[in-house]
């Protein structure tokens, strides 16, 4: 503790240089936090996907429909606990940029399939009673300042109503919250029976199925059984775990993890050079002072420790401030206005960030610290 004051005094020696170094580290960690949230968002919650849930889509493409009758067939397959379905609605609320996902679903089955969607019981009952009723996640409700009781008009881009009418009007009867940080709270859900009756095409067809398996360890076997069940039919299926399904979407953009790792790696390598050079310069300027410290009795280890502590302190101040700032900015929500529905800083990335702070500090301080530790007092004093 008594040496920390010495470290603190050294940090105040050249305030502008320290501030600039801190700022560069801070920016790097803001970037790290933001990229981690974007990676999480683009992988659409692969990590939070249910291990016991399968997604069953048309074998050719997800835009091909499946018969609604498959649900009963699937529920008869051994290992299937329950099944339900959803369909992409793709409507527009006021402006095309006001994007959020909308799905016609079977309320009770869907909520049972997604217990992480927390909807108050009275709102659930209201939804079951109202054919034009809809529920929405908290993020989207907050975004458009919707409240229960509002009428929400959605312009169809795919699903026109009978007679060619494009406007679908829903009564907002509930707002759900997420049980976890990664739960998608942007969805707008309305009743499939109302949708199926009112649409002017593809009645009896749905987009994809969700299937809950009894034993997650046997999910692969159940998926194969489902695909076998519908093999050689007009609508063959492709069943996979929800995680694999989500990953497949992410992979359409590219290997996001590798891209982000490359960016973060380049940023941190640059920061390592910048901070390391600053630290080395700072130690070079203080050669005489370090020699004096040694002359009065500081050991090589003391001096090495002081320089390392200084480097780690700079990294910690900049790094933790950067992580904190990125967390604060990310907490403000999806910066794209709906394209990244799951937007948060995952806990594991916070831990990685903390480890990076310490590693950055140690690496930037290591060489100057070793140099300072090995400093020969008489030589250094002679150079003064």
């Amino acid at each position: 503790m008594k040496f920390l004051r010495l470290v603190g005094s050294n940090l105040k020696r050249k305030k502008i240089r320290t501030l600039l170094t801190l700022s560069s580290i801070l920016v790097a960690f803001v970037l790290f936090g933001y990229l981690a949230a974007i990676r999480q968002a683009l992988s659409q919650g692969v990590d939070v996907a249910g291990a016991d849930r399968l997604v069953v889509r048309h074998k050719v493409s997800i835009i091909q429909f499946l018969p609604e009758s498959y649900e009963a067939d699937m529920e008869r397959i051994e290992g299937v606990a329950e099944a339900t379905h959803a369909t992409w609605f793709g409507g527009i609320y006021q402006e095309p940029q006001n994007f959020f996902p909308q799905f016609p679903v079977k309320p009770e089955e869907y909520l049972a399939m997604y217990p992480e969607f927390l909807l108050p019981e009275d709102q659930k009952q209201a939804w079951l009673k109202s054919r034009t009723g809809a529920v929405v996640g908290r993020t989207t409700a907050d975004r458009f300042e919707w409240k229960v009781g509002d009428k929400i008009p959605i312009q169809a881009t795919i699903w026109t109503r009978s007679g060619g009418q494009r406007t679908w009007e829903f009564d907002l009867v509930g707002i759900y919250d997420g049980a976890e940080a990664g739960t998608d709270t942007t969805q707008f859900l309305f009743r499939h029976d109302y949708f199926d009756e009112a649409r002017d095409m593809a009645r009896g067809q749905i987009g994809w199925y969700y299937v809950r398996v009894e034993d997650p360890d046997k999910a692969a076997g159940v998926a194969a059984a489902i695909d076998n069940e519908f093999a050689n039919s007009p609508a063959e299926t492709k069943a996979e775990t929800e995680g694999a399904f989500v990953q497949g979407f992410a992979d359409q953009i590219g290997n996001i993890g590798a891209i982000i790792q490359a960016i973060v790696g380049a940023v941190f390598f640059t920061i390592l050079l910048v901070a390391g050079n600053t630290m080395a310069q700072s130690v070079r300027e203080r050669t005489g002072e370090l020699a004096v410290l040694k002359a009065v009795g500081f050991t090589d280890a003391h001096v090495l420790g002081l320089v390392l502590t200084e480097a780690v302190t700079i990294a910690a101040l900049g790094g933790f401030a950067g992580l904190g700032l990125s967390w604060f900015m990310i907490s403000a929500g999806d910066p794209t206005g709906g394209l990244l529905p799951i937007f948060f800083l995952p806990r594991q990335d916070i831990v990685i960030g903390i480890v990076l702070v310490v590693v950055l500090g140690l690496l930037t301080g290591l060489l100057p610290a070793l140099q300072a530790g090995r400093l020969r007092i008489a030589d250094a004093l002679r150079r003064l």
């Binding site: 008594k2 005094s9 009065v296 009795g297 500081f298 003391h302 008489a378 004093l381 003064l384």
Partner: protein, 245 residues
Amino acid sequence: MSRQAALDQVEATSSVSSETLVRVEGCTKHFRRGSEEIRVLEKLDLEVPKGEFLALMGPSGSGKSTLLNLMGGLDRPTTGSITVAGERIDQLSRPKLAAWRARHVGFVFQFYNLLPVLNAERNIELPLLLTHLSRAERKKHVETALEIVGLSHRQKHYPGTLSGGEQQRVGIARGIVTDPTLLLADEPTGDLDRKTGDEILDLLQALNRDHGKTIIMVTHDPHAAARSTRTLYVNEGRLRAEPVE
């Protein structure tokens, strides 16, 4: 003059105490600069009794600062031995030598070598950080040292706001704050005007006379050397009792 004759003369002029505090025996120090070997000290012997105020004089490059560094454990001899207060410091490992310096030696430098980011009391406190003293005890030691050098009223001042003489007083306070066995001063008045230099020499004399500190001072200045109890001359790596014309 032979080595023995020089030693005899050295002993003849020392009159402070019969107890030897510093004993340098057959000490040689060579440096290597590229392929060239520079012989700074050659088989040098010296005894410094406890309580003495010894001045080492000599031209630039004569080896006097090197000798001071060896006696202070800042450097090691190429050959020979150095014993301070009964301990062979040339045989100590680097960590042990550092600990020894913290306990037994105080240094005063020509250019004060204070840390500009620390105020006077924090600079003086530096050697005490290596002890087990509590914060309050350290503060008390610092106050005593400041009182001895007459700078109690400047304890919160940073080196940049102190005059050269005041900075050197802080340097001396840092040198004595641990109550060391030996105080080594390398050109302590070299950066000061005559009047301020005299004040510093008064202080060193008082430390020697009133506090019994053994002081070894390197200086170019005969006026400064005159304040010591004994003066020796280093020339071409050898110690002499008289200056070489």
